[in-house]
């Protein structure tokens, strides 16, 4: 246990946490409270009158097929982003973990994408894959692929997943590399002597020993895919074509700010908030256990 710091004055500790507390209160709790209040209100089309409607906004939402579709889509996106990003990052980490010449350079370069802001990621990928401007799109068409994410919903979704997963690879890579390096070399050597070939060694020793890292990253990636993909979606597809790339977060924005339905938008953000609380709760429970194998 850490030794408790002793303060002479009772006010000093409060004064020290006050700036952080102020930020949390103003930028997190206050808007959250606003959202909760707003979710119980209904505004008319012109924003002139407001009525208190209890849970009507929520009930409307749950009856709405579009909302249900957005939930399914969001889960699918999250799953696809998490799995592709995690597996690719793990592959890179395993390769970078080998004693290679210039491995420091690779490692540094692999970390770069993390520093790129999500909207920039979106712009970057759209430049490469835009049906009329993108360089990769040209090759795709030359190979006979009918590539047009501006019209084809599935292709748009693929594009979002690709860009979002790409950005997250760096973060996952860092954790995987650290995880791999914390596995004692002698354990892998023992496995080699015990007759396990590299692939078997990976699946029976390395992978289980990485499982706490994998679980941690899975939760982080899902949260990322839920929320931080907003910038990518907004720059790349704006939720389109149609509603084929509208995720829960994007729907909050489009229904509220573009559609003007503030009550429903607020109710959606409250639901999202509850989801995040649950996810974080799960993560804390497991992180506290530390060893999961």
């Amino acid at each position: 246990m850490q030794k408790q710091a002793i303060f002479q004055s009772k006010l000093l500790p409060y004064a020290l946490v006050a700036p952080q507390l102020a930020i949390v209160l103003i930028f997190f709790y206050w808007p959250a409270l606003q959202a909760v209040i707003q979710s119980f209100l209904l505004q008319d089309a012109f924003g002139l009158s407001t009525t208190f409607v209890w849970f009507d906004n929520y009930i409307e939402l749950l009856k709405d097929r579009a909302y249900f579709k957005a939930i399914v889509r969001t889960f699918f996106f999250s799953f696809a982003i998490a799995v592709s990003s995690l597996s690719f990052a793990l592959l890179l980490a395993v390769m970078a973990d080998k004693p290679l010449r210039g491995s420091m350079l690779y490692r540094t370069l692999l970390i770069w994408p993390y520093a790129v802001a999500p909207p920039v990621v979106g712009v970057l990928w759209i430049f490469m894959l835009h049906p009329s401007l993108g360089i990769i799109a040209r090759y795709l068409r030359a190979m006979g692929v009918d590539w047009n994410p501006l019209l084809d919903g599935d292709q748009a979704a693929t594009l979002i997943i690709l860009a979002a997963a790409w950005k997250q690879i760096s973060y996952n890579f860092l954790f995987f590399l650290a995880g791999l390096q914390s596995i004692p070399r002698s354990v892998l050597e023992a496995a080699a002597i015990d007759g396990a070939r590299p692939m078997r060694r990976f699946w029976t020793v390395t992978f289980p020993l990485l499982s706490p890292t994998i679980f941690f990253l899975l939760v982080v990636n899902i949260v990322y895919a839920f929320f931080d993909t907003f910038g990518i979606i907004d720059t790349m597809t704006r939720g389109g074509p149609g509603t084929s790339t509208v995720t829960l977060v994007y729907k909050v924005y489009s229904d509220g700010l573009l559609g003007g339905n503030l009550g429903s938008s607020a109710a959606q953000s409250v639901i999202l908030m509850i989801m995040v609380i649950v996810l974080t709760g799960i993560q804390f429970r497991f992180v506290e256990r530390k060893v999961t194998y």
Partner: protein
């Protein structure tokens, strides 16, 4: 059952550092070979080369009549016990021991009978379902041993397996390892920096220094006739007293014509006496410190002449000190002037550079 033969084995790292500078060792079938030396002497590297965990850049390693230089660790038919045990933390004790058998496609009932037998021998039967982190250091050590013996390999390799245990357990495990090896009669190579462990375990002792073999042989033979001053000071505790023969006093007593040479005398070969044995050596000493350990007493004395003690391992002892080991607890007072002597048969002579032994 296999011989292990090392022929002019070398290891040069890409940077040009030569870790192993040509080692020749021949371990007979069922023999227990101990590699001993100070840290950094290359003993662990050599063992890892036998295991296949380090590449061999020169020479040959032969296990059971097969050159294994290019063979994967898994196919060398060896088992290794690591210093930190290297147990699989996510597997139960049973699975730790069964892992190597299952990898080789052994049938599950055969796996079970082998693991159960090993667990019985090592008294681990009640712990088979536990995870390594639920075990004490000694128990983990036994699991590591179990993992090695279930495979029934041709050769056991031990890399300082006892150095993470406390002193008492280390002695107990040392005896256990020796008993087990005798019973299984499996060729073993054991690395340690502890000369006592080396002396008690070895059939063949290989003393290494700076990537080279200083001496190979039966431990007692090495103790009685160390080939170099390094071996003389490394094997035996407290270390052998080494001094220059330059002082005329000693030279005349020895009647040697060897010129400049190094004289070595083990602490226990001194007796406190006023007489000088014929052909032997007598030294006047001033007692500087006394260590009583119960069964015996160590006397640290300084020579009256300003003569430096030759330390084969630099910094091991302050210069000018002679250690005398006498039985019992009776000892002269500190500051007393005494005379110690050793008979001719107990003297060791080395060339001035310490690299060769001179037989008188």
């Amino acid at each position: 059952m296999a011989n292990v033969t090392l022929r002019n084995v070398r290891k040069t790292y890409p940077g040009g550092f030569e870790a192993i500078k040509g080692v020749d060792v021949d371990v007979g079938d069922g023999q227990f070979c101990v590699l001993v030396g100070p840290s950094g002497c290359g003993k662990s590297t050599l063992l890892r080369m036998v295991a296949g965990l380090e590449t061999i850049t020169g020479g040959e390693i032969d296990i059971g009549g097969r050159i294994v230089n290019q063979i994967e660790p898994a196919d060398r038919d060896i088992a290794m016990v690591f210093q930190n045990y290297a147990l699989y933390p996510h597997m139960s004790v049973f699975n730790n021991m069964a892992y190597g058998l299952r990898n080789r496609g052994m049938k599950e009932d055969e796996v079970k009978s082998r693991v159960d037998e090993a667990a019985r021998v090592l008294e681990l039967t009640s712990m088979l379902e536990r995870k390594p982190r639920q075990l004490s250091g000694g128990q983990r050590q036994r699991v590591a041993m179990g993992r090695a013996i279930v495979r029934q390999p041709k050769v056991f390799l031990f890399d300082e397996p006892l150095s993470n245990l406390d002193a008492k357990l280390r002695i107990a495990m040392r005896v256990e390892i020796r008993k087990l090896q005798r019973r299984l009669n499996t060729t073993s190579i054991y690395v340690t920096h502890d000369q006592l462990e080396a002396m008690t375990l070895a059939d063949i002792l290989v003393v290494m220094n700076g990537g080279q073999v200083e001496q190979v042989g039966n431990p007692l033979a090495i103790y009685e006739k160390p080939a170099t001053t390094f071996v003389a000071s490394f094997i035996g505790a407290p270390p052998m007293n080494l001094m220059s023969t330059r002082p005329d006093e000693i030279k005349s007593q020895l009647g040697t014509s060897a010129g400049e040479a190094i004289l070595g005398i083990r602490p226990e070969d001194f007796v406190i006496t006023d007489q000088t044995p014929a052909g032997g050596v007598a030294l006047p000493l001033t007692v500087e410190a006394i260590e009583r350990v119960g069964a015996e007493t160590f006397i640290y004395g300084s020579r009256e002449q300003e003569e430096q003690r030759i330390a084969a391992t630099p910094g091991e002892l302050p210069p000018g000190e002679i250690i005398v080991r006498i039985p019992g607890t009776e000892a002269p007072a500190i500051g007393a002037k005494i005379r110690v002597a050793a008979v001719r048969a107990k003297l060791h002579l080395f060339s001035a550079d310490g690299r060769t032994r001179i037989e008188a």
